[in-house]
């Protein structure tokens, strides 16, 4: 089992280090051909506009959709949660979602950087509270019927799962707490 981390821009190194710490086989993905032998893909936090433009230029939209249809699991954190959604509220002019997950996501929903925050979250299946780091975070405004809401903060959705798809609007890769990475490996990629 091998996971890939989309390494076009953003906090991809931290995800790679987290998977390495768990003993997983992990690679940085910069070109679509590198998805061929990947069982699970992380689309990391970063600037969703910049990542989307690079994805389009290098043919990632078609490749990720095709590999997901073949059974590749996908986890989007922050910008990644925006990009895997079916609809983006307040998308920039040419920002197209991948349309993998039945979710509607609003960009920069909590405000500007001075409104970025951290807080303890109760996440389903993980036990003890998890430190959620929210940076210019998006909001998952609504989800389809078959989606399991894993965590909320202040009543708002911050983590969801739909089959082989996982979305978190916060950044587990910045905390050193590997439980969400473990969950993705064992329960999402491993359960396919």
């Amino acid at each position: 089992m091998r996971v890939g981390v989309l390494a076009l821009q953003g906090a991809f190194r931290e995800h790679i280090l987290a998977f390495e710490a768990l003993g997983a086989s992990v690679r940085a993905v910069r070109l679509p051909a590198q998805l061929d032998d990947t069982d699970g893909l992380v689309i990391p936090g970063g600037e969703s506009t910049a990542i989307a433009k690079l994805m389009r230029t290098y043919g990632f939209y078609e490749a990720v959709r095709a590999r997901h249809a073949d059974g590749m699991a996908v986890w989007g954190t922050c910008a990644g949660a925006i990009l895997i959604a079916s609809d983006i509220v307040d998308a920039s002019s040419d920002q197209e979602p991948l349309g993998l997950m039945h979710s509607v996501v609003r960009r920069n929903a909590y405000g500007r950087q001075v409104d970025s925050f951290e807080t303890d979250l109760d996440i389903a299946h993980l036990g003890e509270p998890f430190r959620g780091v929210f940076i210019r975070a998006p909001l998952i405004e609504s989800v389809g019927e078959d989606i399991e809401v894993l965590a909320r903060h202040g009543g708002l959705i911050v983590a969801v799962r739909e089959g082989d798809l996982l979305a978190t609007t916060f950044h587990p890769e910045l905390t050193g707490d590997l439980r969400v990475h473990r969950y993705f490996l064992d329960r999402v990629v491993g359960a396919r």
Binding site: G46, E47, A50, K53, D90, V114, D115, E118, H153
Partner: protein
């Protein structure tokens, strides 16, 4: 904000810099330029009154941008907006925080307001990025609360040589500190004029405790990839884009070269037909007193 949420923590401040990694931050002076930068794939824009090449040409005192311009830029794009304040000018910093910018650059490109003290950046909720030529300077800035570092280079020159010098100096000094024996660290801290705890952190971890971008003289896709291969986390491009013949094409090319910095085929492709690059300046032609990198203490 709802229950038990904390804003302005160091992790939240450094975290935004982590999200900018592998990206290009572009200097802009108008909302129109900010939109062009966002369309080209910039991860953030830097708002200032004039780009460094024009500051250099105009002379006189360079200050924070007019709040109206900052507002227009904040309103024009959805990516993070940074803005420059003068070294030590904590009121300009207070104004920029009140305008809602996402990062403040306490910058040597502007005329310093204080020749001894930098802004106490711990006083602010908004994070700061600061310039540094070497490890000691970087750790002094981090000690003052900077959540991101950029090596200085020599702004407004289109000449990458100082950016290379500063990045190499930084990495060589980090490797040296990581390699000394623990009892030497007290003297190392004294020699670097840096806080002991931060010197110890660099010794233990072999890296800076915050993200380190490269700045000051990057003008081509190859320049950007060079700095990435040397080991920086991302690049600032100031005058290099909007002082060139075809800003849109050059901006996109620098973005792609920064992502694919180890792929010479891609860098070669995006480097074609970019039009005229900004006219460069040889560092030896700049009198010492006019070198922006000397500002900061």
């Amino acid at each position: 904000m709802s229950d038990n949420a904390t804003t302005g923590t160091l992790r939240v401040k450094t975290g935004l810099a982590e999200m900018l990694k592998g990206g290009v931050i572009m200097d802009v002076v108008t909302a129109e330029q900010a939109r062009i930068a966002e369309d080209a794939g910039a991860v953030a824009v830097m708002s200032l009154e004039r780009v460094p090449a024009d500051i250099r040409a105009a002379g006189g005192v360079a200050r924070m941008a007019d709040p109206t311009i900052v507002d227009q830029i904040v309103g024009a794009v959805s990516i993070p907006v940074m803005a420059k304040c003068r070294i030590g000018h904590f009121v300009e910093a207070q104004i920029l925080q009140s305008l809602g910018v996402d990062y403040i650059d306490e910058s040597e490109v502007l005329t310093p307001a204080d020749e001894e003290h930098h802004v106490n950046k711990w006083d602010f909720t908004v994070p700061f990025v600061c310039g540094a030529r070497n490890l000691g300077e970087a750790l002094r800035r981090i000690g003052e609360g900077a959540a991101m570092i950029r090596t200085k280079g020599e702004p407004g020159t289109g000449n990458v040589v100082e950016a290379v010098r500063h990045m190499r100096t930084m990495l060589e000094e980090i490797a040296w500190v990581a390699g000394v024996r623990e009892e030497q660290l007290f003297t190392v801290a004294k020699d670097l004029q840096a806080p002991y705890d931060l010197v110890k952190w660099v010794h233990d971890n072999g890296t800076l405790p915050v993200v380190n971008f490269s700045a000051g003289g990057i003008a081509t896709p190859a320049d950007a990839a060079l700095m990435m291969q040397l080991g920086c986390d991302g690049v600032f491009v100031g005058s290099g884009i909007f002082k060139s013949g075809d800003p849109i094409k050059r901006a996109k090319a620098i973005v792609e070269a920064t992502t694919h910095f180890e792929d010479a085929d891609i860098i070669a492709r995006v480097s074609r037909d970019l039009g005229e690059a900004m006219v460069g300046i040889n560092i030896s032609d700049i009198p010492d007193a006019e070198r922006m990198q000397e500002r900061g203490w």
